[in-house]
Subunit: 443 residues, 2 copies
């Protein structure tokens, strides 16, 4: 070839265009997902990037005769005549009457887990051990199309709001939230850390771009093995400058979530349907102060002893309350106690016991923490000292404050955790393509 | 506040709307970038997310009198009357006649590096040591808006071509390209590795999504300190299934690059102008085989001794040749030697000494490597054995081939390196926000 022009030619027709080709012979390419031999004819299901296309083989349709190399998981180019048909539930679809199959590649063995039934029926650990195979199941992969949609919505909305997308370093010289739960790394003889959060860097970029966001991996050396924790996950973070109050951050998050849910309904409808996902409608999100929420929990629930934070049963109760009282799947809880929030959180000038911060509950489970940050240099240095931290270890971070920072704040949102709760999973690993936990680093 | 609705209110007007407000008093928020006191009046330049807005103070304009807290790097809300004006080169613009300044936050010290001249005039190491400050210089930040545009173009184009965006794990149990140059990590008592590339994972996802891409960090423990290497960088990777030949990958890359360059011209025009960037026009990209390119280099250049790969001077020569011969800033070199390509590269069935692979040269420097991958299980296992690798160590990777993989291939493109060459920098660190090298992990 002498030159390439950037125009990729194909002689295949995507399923979405089948209706324009009824009665014609077209080509498709895909993986043979399922073969059901009915003695005088056969159904051959072809799995493409987003669809499973039913093709019907019968000697009546053409001179083509199916050969031994037409096996499940082989890749194939199939030609056939487009004909209208109906699914079991009566809705319209199109299928191909096969006139030829050209095998492009063959598997060496049959799959270790059944992947062409409605769903993977193996235990989660077996599913995860065989991820390169089990992700091929249409319902499994739909989870990660939804996940793509969530991060795409986050990005598209913030880009429309003049945020700049950034990538901050994952090899850090100090842990953002302190010394525990960080992975340590030998870096040419120095000990460095894997980023737990882009927190300090995204703040640093506020006087540069005013508004920034990042979608990228973070690493937490959690020593406990729970259904809610991953040791590596994708964090969606934003930070915005020149806020009037921390409610601006909550307004922005509400806008983000509305946009994401609409995007899922519009562009990911087939995956939403396949997974039976209940995508929330968002009109507005109610807010309650931590103190008021706590009082309500103490009144309504028994045995509440921790007055500084919520137990999971309190979050669940608050979720139900928001649904009953406001018809909302979401609830903002604001003004968390100063003692429970990180060193960079701004205290409420009207009551320094509480912070200008919030959590967002979704169906009774926390999915975000956010708040306004300290922007004044002396205030930040004094707070560090009060907390027993050494400001000198944070000298490059404190350049932000020393040389002028606008009022600002932001939040972080775990992509797998949001996916998990949106799809109603019990274990966050179901919403991670290749999860990392204390016992798992493969595949 | 009782409820948030997702509609953020502001009483400020962005610079892009100034022309609709001529003669009116409007508000803006930003950082005071520069104050030039001309005794009876003063220029106060306000730096916003993407602009620097000239404001003029004079006691004639209003009763407002400038106070001592109006200092450079303070954050401010400024009100003023919009008036048309002209830049030094005669082009139209708008400025504000100040009627009030409300200081929102103050710096604690003056900046250690001058950032309000046209460019940072300090040495690169000083610039990098002071990144939280130097990035505030409009020319420095423009580099990273261009970088945002490059990765945005990569993503938007591939999304339009039905690619799925994925995030693969950075904590890996094996190094994709072998055991050297990987960072090792203690993971709860096990030794694991930081991902050098998403290569093996993106291939694994081909039978799932057919087409995938990832934009994310990769880590290389390069022991040498050069102007071209970073130890952590952002890799833009794609992988596509059901290709007819590896030229399909080159067509896709050509489409990506055309889209990126058009996006930069259209949406990043002010940054392109500020940096004086020469954005290439792409019509088509010429191709030459490695063998033919090598013969030409040997004929034209002296002292070429390595017949298996290119020296930088050969790449430079080939870049000039492509420009003269074809008027192209880009050149694809194809069919690199099998001995020089990774274990997963497919050999040319017509000549197993060479591979179905390519590099892309941009203005005489390599910016991409790509090619078709082996999809047949036995072929891949045999090649691994021939290369002295143990296939058992790659058992989860080989599930791809064992259980059926379509013909596929892809490529990787370093974001910082492309930014560097597009902007004509001599050192890749200039194109990294917070570069990591053998001597630098701060800020």
């Amino acid at each position: 070839m002498d030159k390439v022009t950037g125009e990729l030619k194909t002689d295949c027709v995507p399923y979405s265009q089948f209706k324009e080709h009824v009665g014609e012979v077209v080509n498709i390419k895909g993986v043979i997902h399922n073969i059901r031999d009915m003695s005088d004819f056969a159904f051959v299901l072809i799995r493409t990037a987003r669809d499973v296309i039913q093709c019907v083989y019968s000697p009546e349709f053409s001179d083509y005769r199916m050969t031994d190399d037409v096996v499940e998981q082989a890749s194939a180019k199939v030609s056939g005549k487009v004909v209208p048909s109906k699914t079991r539930d009566g809705s319209e679809r199109y299928e191909l009457q096969i006139t030829g199959i050209d095998i492009l590649s063959r598997p060496a063995d049959i799959v270790p887990v059944v992947i062409n039934k409605k769903q993977i029926n193996a235990e989660l650990s077996v599913n995860l051990d065989n991820r390169p195979v089990t992700l091929r199941n249409p319902k499994e992969r739909a989870i990660f199309k939804i996940q793509e949609g969530i991060q795409r919505g986050f990005r598209e909305y913030l880009t429309s709001q003049d945020f700049t997308e950034v990538h901050t370093p994952k090899i850090n010289f100090a842990g953002a939230e302190g010394g525990t739960n960080v992975f340590r790394l030998d870096y040419f003889g120095k000990t460095v850390f894997l980023a737990q959060s882009p927190q300090l860097y995204k703040q640093t970029l506020i006087p540069v771009f005013e508004r920034v966001f990042e979608i990228g991996p973070v690493f937490r050396a959690e020593h406990h093995d729970t259904s809610r924790h991953l040791n590596e996950y994708i964090s969606m973070d934003f930070e915005m400058g020149f806020i009037d109050s921390f409610y601006d951050i909550m307004e922005m998050e509400t806008g983000v979530l509305k946009y994401i849910m609409n995007l899922l309904r519009e562009k990911y409808a087939s995956e939403v349907a396949l997974l039976g996902a209940d995508i929330p409608e968002i009109d507005s999100i109610p807010c309650i102060r931590f103190k008021d929420a706590k009082e309500m929990c103490v009144r309504k629930l028994k045995n509440i002893t921790d007055m500084h934070d919520f137990e999971p049963e309190e979050e669940a109760y608050l979720g139900k309350w928001a649904k009953q009282q406001y018809g909302s799947d979401f609830l903002f809880v604001t003004h968390f106690l100063t003692s429970k929030r990180p060193f960079y959180t701004m205290e409420d000038p009207e009551d320094p016991e509480v912070t200008l911060s919030f959590d967002l509950l979704f169906r009774g489970i926390e999915i975000t923490s956010g708040g306004q940050r300290i922007h004044d240099y002396n205030e930040q240095v004094e707070k560090m000292k009060r907390l027993g931290m050494n400001p000198e270890e944070f000298d490059t971070y404190l350049m932000l404050h020393k040389y002028g920072a606008p009022p600002h704040g932001g939040l972080g949102l775990g992509l797998e955790r949001l996916t998990m709760h949106l799809l109603g999973f019990k274990n966050v690993r179901s919403a991670a393509m290749f999860p990392r936990d204390i016992n798992r680093v493969t595949p």
